[in-house]
Symmetry: C2
Subunit: 344 residues, 2 copies
């Protein structure tokens, strides 16, 4: 995708002043008919769209970065935010956050709000509902308006932009192998609904490890916890219905809930049931037993996202030059604590 053409670029290309371009596009009598026609045709050809306030404010840099995250009560997103802030502040940028609360509508409203002159570019992780609806027009819109966009964690394959992701598939593979090395035979997965692409990748790594290592892969051992509420009773029912000796959980809250319910039911962790979670937050460190978990390095992810965005903001590409995008991968780390056993 090409960046949106600006008044300045039209002026430069046609060797006239910016004010002439502006007046010509408003069909002012001050400009000769020939010049107007030339400028109007050129603007049309390159799809120039005046964008009232947003555009005029955009030309004076705000030095603000807009961050849109799905949830503020979530250790991972808040640590990514910290990383964004850390890097951005060092480079003289401020950061404003809006929270989509996993809602598509709120995400759209938030992005319009921020695009209206408050910020120079976006860093975001899309909401659950947006992934579910598969509607990304609001992302395309801000990019068309000339705002650089960096997606992190929950990224969208169909959107061409800079991205920062974690090696979700590989680290889930590694965690599953760890259970097998301990001698566990029936490894379960507790995950969220699959429209989260990260959950899908983790499920894929889990499945691949079991298949490649010659262990049993039984789809019944995957528990999909519904999007909002009822997690605990759902996990409780899973314990009643299925048998397993290890559980990989896609976040630390599920992992701590699984450990709590297992212990209530008289299982020992990790002797009877080993547990591994994702996210290395306070819960993992202070749960009982302490949780073996996958550190997602959210702060690093935030720093990289901010670096990519600021690079785009500060290096204007030439007129008609193709924009290039890249995807950075942050390597997660398995942190061993007491919810898993020793290698056999």
């Amino acid at each position: 995708m090409k960046r949106k053409i600006t008044l300045k670029q039209i002026a430069r290309e046609l060797e006239v002043s910016i004010s002439t371009v502006s007046k010509a596009l408003k069909d002012s009598d001050e400009i000769s008919k020939d010049t107007k026609q030339k400028i109007q045709a050129f603007a049309k050809l390159y799809n120039y769209r005046p964008n009232n306030i947003a555009l005029s404010l955009k030309n004076r840099r705000t030095k603000n970065i807009g961050v849109v995250i799905p949830d503020i009560v979530h250790h991972f997103f808040t640590t990514v935010f910290r990383g964004i802030e850390k890097y951005a502040n060092e480079r003289g940028y401020n950061v404003i956050v809006c929270v989509s609360d996993e809602s598509y509508d709120k995400e759209v409203v938030n992005m319009e709000l921020l695009a209206n002159g408050s910020i120079d570019g976006f860093i975001m992780s899309v909401s659950a509902e947006t992934q579910q609806k598969n509607d990304f027009h609001h992302l395309r819109e801000v990019m068309d308006q000339g705002f650089p966009l960096v997606l992190f964690d929950r990224v969208i394959d169909e959107i061409e932009c800079d991205k920062v992701v974690m090696n979700d598939e590989e680290i889930a593979y590694e965690a599953t192998c760890k259970f097998l090395e301990e001698g566990k035979k029936k490894v379960a997965l507790v995950t969220t609904e699959s429209y989260f692409n990260v959950s899908e990748k983790r499920a894929e790594g889990y499945r691949r490890a079991l298949v490649e290592q010659g262990a049993d892969y039984d789809p019944k051992l995957t528990l999909v916890v519904p999007f909002r509420g009822g997690e605990e009773s759902c996990i409780d029912a899973f314990f009643e219905e299925e048998e397993f000796d290890a559980v990989l959980c896609v976040n630390e809250v599920f992992a701590v809930q699984v450990m709590g319910i297992a212990q209530e039911k008289g299982y020992r962790v990790p002797e009877d049931i080993s547990v591994i979670g994702f996210t290395n937050g306070l819960l993992s460190r202070y749960s009982s037993p302490t949780l073996t978990t996958i550190a997602q390095h959210g702060e690093r992810m935030g720093e990289v996202a901010a670096e990519m965005l600021i690079e785009k903001l500060e290096n204007e590409i030439g007129f008609e030059e193709e924009e290039t995008y890249r995807t950075e991968i942050i390597e997660a780390t398995l942190i061993e604590r007491n919810s898993t056993g020793k290698k056999k």
Copy 2:
């Protein structure tokens, strides 16, 4: 404090058009000398200060609320934020957050950023450093510019504005009494540096309970954990140096750390040492044992703050009418779990 006078109000009072007022204040030749003198004198008398962009944008309502919080990786602030969002969204407002990261400078920059046309009013909890420096000019500045301000939790006595606070002193009193009812004799307090006025109030409730109930109050049993870092080694040293059988902690992280260190040292919780924390987050629910804690009802606090702000935004007061402010108190609740014993 009176609200700042606007062009519109000057125009209404002097029975001229807004554009006449504006031109007169710019000393335009289009306006007669007499009219200019009258308008300029009136504006001076009522302390009119033109505020470039902020003011002109202010006149067209943004329907956005700016929230400035000290920390995003903190259960209490994020739940307050949720409450603000919930109420504001219902009333058709959006919420933008900036995080001061406990820094005075960042708080100042964030408020300038938001005041620059993005929002209609502020809800905030001031940073540690701001309380330490005792410098609140940036709060006065946004109020002088006509932005309503609601402070929550960490409020400033010297600033006249709407406030939402918790009954910190009373609930700390109640929690301390609970230890005494269990039969505990030496109750310790683990707190933060005292420039946090909430910590000060909790310490006061703790002290008053011990004195009024005829128990020992020993200043050596108050541990002041330094602002950043080293919490665990600090708590560890406290265990080595002092003797106590109950600990009131001003947040849930300290409480969970105290329980962890106590158990490592061979004490049983609550038989040997009872523990109560503040904040009813995930940690309290999943720690081992589960934590008796003070629910601060952050979501309710956020809802009330948003309600107060929107009321100010939507009910313009008359010219020369005195602004009135109120302070709402949210009643905290003691939630009993397994880190405290039964009443004796």
